[in-house]
């Protein structure tokens, strides 16, 4: 026979062994002491927090023959031993997940009337009760409300929301909590000691962290790591087996986001995954780290408990990160982890999330930064002359050709209304003039405006207005730009304008080799 899994071997045998659920065990023990056992209990809570274990403890305790109620379950009387060895006749454990139907409940109802065979009470543990069908729940209602005096029900579920209100109201409900990191670590240490396994405390803490508050998960992980009981288990070994990326990798990746260093970040992800880190797990670790940075950044350092050297790293990064960049990085990684599509390259979602989080600063992509406006895309790339441009419209957002100012014409257009408003304060005539101008392109740090008529060109180019306009641009766009004004030829203007205003038409002309034969006003 294979050795028993540790989480089965170390199932709590007394109420003291149940960790992190004092609010429940205390209530139950008080009830036992005062002999005020209710006829139905409903245990709910996340997986691995002790629902089934507590249910069995309760079954033992109410049937235990020890004279002192405080000492129950004693684990020595015949009832306790019977339960421990899984042969106690009056403990009926029903797996509601595979016995979902109304017939299973009817069977239960038929047998419940018989008095217990060896103990005081017949205990029905219905595990995974949320899987009962609607009819099964309804069939249980009357029995659950008024069972025979010798029967006690314990219902256990991870999904309390799926249990009908009529069932809930007939039971005494206990909610099990996730167990705290410290308690799990302590429990793991105790188990490791009894199993004569030597393991680094930091490794135990890593395991407890991975277990996310579920005792069963944590003990399973510990079990998984102990293959050879004589071997000393170090933090590195544990990390390798659990597929956890080293903390260093996580910190460096965050640093790569700060530095906008795409090649380094991608290398980091690939080497971590090649080194055995589970990509999704790695993503979660990155989120956790960024979250701590965010907490330090917004709420001050008190919110994060970490070792001093780690805290120093977090504080440095918190200072280097912009809040917006930090939030968008967390969102990007969170989306990737939530909606994971691994496929053939398991690390791909991580890589994309990483690139998404550095993008806002690394590249100015018009599409990402500018709210869509109807003329945005096509006008960018329409050259002034009427000849059908040889260069077709790019379908993807235009590559940022001008890097001098770091601005694209799309951004200027998006801000155009604000610029008009701000212009009024600078020069009274400016807004009216600008009504006739459209931002055409940006060359280096020069903004080129197109106007319909040379009069407007002269007026805008007058020194006072030009200076005012430059100030306005600086104020709104935070970039200093030179101004040029060009007059668009009226004939050219119409065709170009039509194309610019109509995406579909432009597409037809330039992609599908269409021709405009006539222009109608």
């Amino acid at each position: 026979m294979s050795a028993q899994a540790l989480y089965l071997k170390w199932r709590p045998q007394t109420f003291e062994d149940v960790i992190g659920q004092e609010h429940i065990t205390r209530t139950l023990r008080n009830a036992l002491r005062q002999d005020r056992i209710r006829h139905a209990y409903l245990f709910s809570g996340p997986r691995g927090t002790g629902k089934t274990s507590t249910a069995r403890l309760l079954a033992k305790a109410i049937n235990c023959t020890h004279p002192d109620p405080d000492a129950r379950p004693c684990n020595t009387c015949s009832a306790c031993v019977g339960v421990n060895e899984n042969r106690f006749l009056d403990l009926i454990e029903i797996d509601a997940a595979s016995h979902t139907g109304v017939d299973d409940v009817r069977d239960l109802r038929d047998k419940i009337a018989f008095a217990p065979g060896e103990g005081r009470y017949k205990v029905y543990i219905i595990d995974e009760v949320h899987r009962f069908s609607g009819a099964a729940f309804d069939a249980l209602l009357k029995t659950l409300e008024e069972p025979p005096a010798h029967a006690v029900f314990v219902l256990a579920t991870t999904e309390i929301a799926k249990v009908p209100a009529t069932i809930k109201s007939r039971c005494l409900t206990f909610e099990f909590r996730r167990v705290s990191l410290a308690e799990v670590t302590q429990r793991l240490a105790a188990i490791a000691e009894s199993e004569h396994v030597s393991i680094e405390p930091a490794a135990l803490e890593l395991i407890a962290r991975e277990g996310t508050g579920s005792v069963r998960d944590s003990i399973s992980l510990l079990d998984q790591i102990i293959a050879d009981p004589d071997e000393h288990i170090s933090l590195d070994m544990a990390a390798q087996l659990l597929g956890t990326a080293s903390g260093q990798n996580v910190v460096e990746l965050a640093q790569a986001i700060v530095d906008n260093d795409a090649p380094h970040g991608l290398d980091l992800i690939n080497s971590a995954v090649d080194g055995g880190a589970d990509p999704r797990q790695f993503g979660r670790q990155v989120i956790e780290h960024l979250r701590q940075v965010l907490l330090v950044k917004t709420g001050g350092p008190d919110l994060v408990s970490a070792a001093p050297e780690r805290r120093a790293v977090i504080e440095t990064q918190a200072a280097a990160f912009g809040r917006k960049a930090l939030l968008s990085a967390i969102r990007a990684f969170n989306a990737a982890v939530q909606d994971w599509q691994g496929g053939w390259q398991p690390q791909l979602p991580l890589e994309l999330a990483f690139l998404d989080s550095i993008k806002p600063v690394a590249e100015d992509e018009p599409e990402a930064d500018v709210p869509r406006q109807p003329r945005g895309r096509t006008q960018d790339d329409l050259p002034a002359p009427i000849q059908r441009p040889p260069a077709p419209l790019p379908s993807a957002p235009a590559a940022p050709a001008e890097t001098g100012s770091g601005l694209t014409v799309g951004q200027v257009r998006a801000e155009w209304n604000r610029i008009l408003k701000a212009a009024k304060a600078r020069h009274t005539a400016l807004p009216a003039l600008l009504q006739h101008a459209t931002p055409r392109e940006i060359k280096g740090s020069r903004l080129i405006l197109g106007v319909e008529n040379s009069i407007f060109k002269q007026k805008i180019e007058a020194d006072d207005k030009r200076a005012a306009l430059q100030q306005v641009l600086e104020e709104v766009l935070h970039t200093s730009l030179q101004i040029s004004v060009v007059v668009a030829d009226s004939q050219q203007h119409t065709v170009e304008d039509v194309l610019a205003q109509d995406d579909v038409l432009a597409f037809g002309v330039q992609e599908l080799d269409g021709e405009i034969t006539e222009l109608d006003e």
Binding site: A97, R216, S220, A227, P263, Q341, A396, P397, A399
Partner: protein, 330 residues
């Protein structure tokens, strides 16, 4: 972890997992339920089968691979080893199958030491089936070992995962795949190319080695992508029209395309991470330079999205046309 235990298991790669399993065997610490996760065709079921043989082989160097037990198990013919899976890939594993399995598992082993159940691609189990397995998985009858395989642990119910010992398997290093192909008689350069392209999916590499059509198909799909990228929109639409007539394999095609774009992205970003489509390096380089990182990333996102959409049974032709619009023009 030191891979000191030389296993001699007939499995390619996954040394750490094998070391772990054989050590568990040696120290009699075998768990009652395992969960092997990792991308398709990296050898999860093979490992499960070999592990089942090791559990039951009576030879000192289990699995010996020659005794009756081993031969039967490795050929899926042993009465005490049941393999349960969805009717076809992409189908559903049903609750009836789980109930049947529970019936079988309740009986003592017929001739072997352990009754082993391998539940393949368990992420395809429907919720009722997965839930029905919960109690069996937590406390199976004595002498029963359950092995689940799945693409990723996150695709399963957390209650399932927490009852198993997970072994997250990873795609194999290119070097290991290459060596394995060489021992199967592949010429060195074929082995190298296949190993690179397989991205560590040994199952695919071996199949491609045995069946040249597999490689030809890949080449055809990538050629098609490259042609499309050179063409105008009109030409692209014409390609799509032809493509949308063949429904099967489009998903795989898009997987190849995703890999292709990812390589372009790696090159565009200047990362040193190794690319998969090694044989297309020149074209990829040109594409990365021409399109730039933003456009490549956009195309990659679009390809992934399209792949998802096709799974949801959208209009194939329309989806592919939209995809073509998202690709950068020459």
């Amino acid at each position: 972890m030191t891979a000191a235990v030389n296993s001699g298991w007939p499995v390619i790669g996954h040394e750490w997992a094998i070391a772990h399993l054989s050590r568990s065997l040696a120290f009699d610490r075998v768990r009652h339920a395992y969960l092997f996760t990792g991308p398709g065709m990296i050898g999860k079921t093979t490992l499960a089968r070999v592990f089942a043989a090791s559990l039951n082989c009576r030879d000192a160097h289990a699995p010996c691979g020659t005794c009756r037990t081993c031969t039967l198990i490795l050929k899926d013919g042993h009465p005490d080893v049941s393999i349960v899976e969805a009717g076809q890939a992409g189908g559903q594993l049903k609750i009836e199958q789980v109930r049947d399995l529970q019936q079988t598992l309740a009986l003592r082993p017929y001739e072997a030491r352990y009754r082993v159940a391998v539940l393949r691609r368990f992420h395809e189990a429907n919720p009722a089936a997965a839930n029905a397995l919960l109690k069996t998985l937590e406390e199976p009858p004595p002498g029963v070992i359950l092995i689940l395989t799945a693409d990723a642990a996150d695709l399963l119910l957390p209650t399932i995962v927490s009852r198993c010992q997970p072994l997250p398997l990873r795609p194999l290093p290119v070097e290991v795949v290459r060596a394995a192909l060489m021992t199967r008689g592949a010429p060195p350069d074929t082995a190298q190319t296949l190993a690179q392209i397989s991205g560590g999916r040994i199952g695919w590499a071996i199949r491609a080695l045995a069946d040249p059509a597999e490689l030809a198909q890949r080449a055809e799909w990538l050629d098609l992508l490259e042609t499309a990228l050179q063409g105008t929109r009109r030409e692209r639409f014409a390609l799509v029209e032809k493509l949308s007539l063949e429904k099967t394999g489009l998903q795989t095609m898009l997987d190849f395309w995703v890999g292709y774009w990812r390589d372009a992205l790696l090159i565009a970003s200047g990362s040193r991470a190794p690319i998969t489509n090694y044989d297309r390096q020149a074209a990829l380089q040109a594409l990365a330079e021409r399109a730039g990182m933003g456009a490549v990333q956009h195309a990659l996102d679009a390809t992934r999205r399209t792949s998802q959409h096709l799974n949801k049974n959208v209009n194939t032709r329309l989806a592919l046309e939209v995809l073509m619009l998202d690709y950068p023009l020459p």
